[in-house]
């Protein structure tokens, strides 16, 4: 028994294992050193904060070193995504804005191949293929601040993901979702309540008219059943995103709100008047010396 424990303690020191470990460490170290060298090179110009007035002419676009180093891509070289950048490239050669985003978008699939295949078939992906404006990887996931969805600072974290979607999809959907119980729960920090992507999907997102869509009428019961006990047809039959208006699908809720608002106002007013009258009587009695 004692010998076994000693063997266990000495285990990692066995010559074969130790060699492998050193080799792995060396490999990682050397790779990281290389990444660090490249990134430090980039950041020597790009980490300079612009003044409050903005960038001075000739100053490189600002990259937050802290955000980059805490992101999920902290150990990846800048040139992995910006693969067209060569050392000493002139500013005019490098494109910016949406064009840059589109360019970088294509480099994501170098590692995230599986996601790209799904994205291609989605409404967002189809728009990209048609050369139209659409949501690119970086629009939802961010760029230098990219983080895992489970990270509260991630742009795809439950609470933040709604803000991410409504950057483009404001309309009535933002308002009606915020009013819903799902929206309120998520806003208060729930990670189990439904966000936009819980029902609409994320990379495979499709409009409701598409038969494959998770929000197609035929598929809605199944979509609800991801969280809710049973996929009752009736459960999914109602209108989601119903506006609180006197007419339309939101009317019953609208009139219920109106009814209770007035009921509360009337009841509260009468009760306060009653309390005031009692206090008045007490005051009168005290004045008369009866108190």
């Amino acid at each position: 028994m004692g010998a076994w424990i000693i063997a266990l303690l000495l285990g990692p020191a066995s010559p074969v294992l130790a060699d492998t470990k050193v080799n792995l460490d060396e490999l990682t170290k050397s790779r990281l050193a290389e990444v660090e060298k490249i990134n430090n090179g980039c950041l020597s110009c790009h980490a300079k904060k612009p003044t409050a007035k903005g960038r001075v002419p000739g100053q490189a676009p600002f990259i937050d070193r802290e955000k980059l180093h805490t992101s999920g891509h902290s150990q990846i070289a800048c040139t992995k995504c910006h693969d067209d950048v060569k050392e000493g490239a002139k500013p005019s050669v490098i494109v910016g804005g949406r064009e840059l985003a589109k360019k970088v978008d294509r480099t994501c699939q170098k590692c995230h191949e599986d996601i790209d295949k799904v994205y291609e078939k989605s409404s967002h992906g189809k728009l990209l293929e048609q050369g139209k404006e659409t949501a690119l990887c970086s629009d939802c996931h961010g760029s230098h601040n990219i983080r895992k969805t489970s990270d509260p600072e991630s742009e795809t974290y439950a609470k933040n993901s709604v803000e991410t979607c409504v950057k483009c999809h404001a309309h009535k959907y933002k308002e009606t979702y915020e009013e819903s119980f799902h929206g309120r729960a998520v806003h208060l920090g729930s990670v189990t309540s439904a966000t936009c992507v819980s029902c609409h999907g994320s990379h495979a997102i499709l409009g409701p008219s598409e038969p494959e869509s998770t929000v197609n009428k035929a598929n809605i019961p199944k979509t609800c059943a991801q969280c809710h006990l049973k996929a009752r047809a009736n459960f999914a039959a109602g209108t989601e995103h119903a506006e609180l208006k006197a007419q339309g699908p939101g009317a019953p809720t609208y009139w219920t709100l109106k009814f209770f608002t007035w009921l509360t106002i009337i009841v509260f007013t009468l009760l306060i008047i009653h309390i005031e009258m009692e206090l008045f009587r007490r005051y009168q009695n005290i004045k008369k010396g009866k108190g």
């Binding site: 915020e178 039959a237 209770f260 009760l271 309390i275 009692e278 008045f280 009587r281």
Partner: protein, 263 residues
């Protein structure tokens, strides 16, 4: 002193007192876990939600409170059946009657100084009946809509989706009405009223002192102590016939303790 009277009269039996404790503790819990959901987009709503552990935990605590409240409701309904099934304990005193409207008129005139004495209160005043029946209707509105939201997939087997959406509005708005009534009206009656400040101890003692009874429920006291017939004879009667120095009673004093059959 020709006759000796009891000094304490029971108004809340042990079951009623337990029901009331269950009701008010769960009411406070659901109030302070429910408000952050209604006011999710305000700073204070979010601070309060964070205090309860945020989103998911907040809802679990709210549902725990709701379970206790529904349990007190079920307890009370069983209790009511038991009370009404037994001939000895059967009483319809908590049911609204024409006398309540007469009392309301009498009392309002008294408060305005048009009546020298307050209403001839029976076992339950109209204010107490209002409190009781407000909770009775409230528990069905809030409890019913709450259950529909808790189990929406079950509820939709019986009602359409828009009904559940509307009931969510009813749930939170009826709750705000209840909160306002409890924390202003009920709290005035049993806590802030100078008669009872800091509180009416009835909720745990279950009894009321005879002196208070004389003032708060004179008609009932007359009935118990056998002066009802004499009281009836006296046409313009206001207040107990029991020999009592008027200075014993604080004029303008208003009854407001929690009364029996309250869940």
């Amino acid at each position: 002193m020709a006759e000796q009277h009891k000094s304490e009269y029971e108004r809340f039996d042990i079951h009623q007192r337990i029901q009331h404790v269950m009701m008010f503790s769960s009411f406070i819990l659901t109030t302070f876990t429910g408000l952050p959901i209604k006011y999710a987009y305000t700073g204070w709503g979010q601070s309060l939600a964070a205090f309860w552990g945020g989103g998911d935990l907040l809802l679990k605590i709210h549902l725990t409170g709701a379970t206790v409240m529904l349990a007190s409701c079920v307890y009370h309904l069983f209790y009511l059946v038991a009370i009404l099934a037994n001939k000895k304990t059967r009483s319809w005193a908590a049911v609204p009657s024409p006398k309540d409207f007469k009392d309301l008129g009498d009392n309002l005139r008294y408060l305005l100084g048009l009546n020298p004495k307050q209403a001839y209160w029976e076992r339950y005043t109209y204010k107490e009946k209002f409190d009781y029946w407000a909770v009775f209707w409230g528990i069905f509105m809030i409890g019913g809509s709450g259950l529909m939201m808790w189990f929406p997939d079950v509820a939709t087997a019986f009602v359409p989706r828009w009904f559940i959406d509307a009931s969510r509005a009813a749930h939170s708005d009826e709750a705000v009405l209840a909160i306002v009534v409890i924390f202003f009206w009920h709290f005035y009656n049993v806590h802030f009223s100078p008669t009872f400040f800091p509180m009416n101890k009835l909720w745990y003692k279950g009894t009321m002192h005879r002196e208070l009874m004389l003032h708060e429920h004179p008609a009932e006291l007359d009935r118990i102590e056998g002066r009802a017939a004499q009281a009836k004879k006296d046409a313009g009667y206001r207040g107990s016939t029991a020999a009592v120095d008027s200075s014993d009673v604080i004029p303008g004093d208003i009854p407001g303790e929690k009364i029996s059959h309250r869940s």
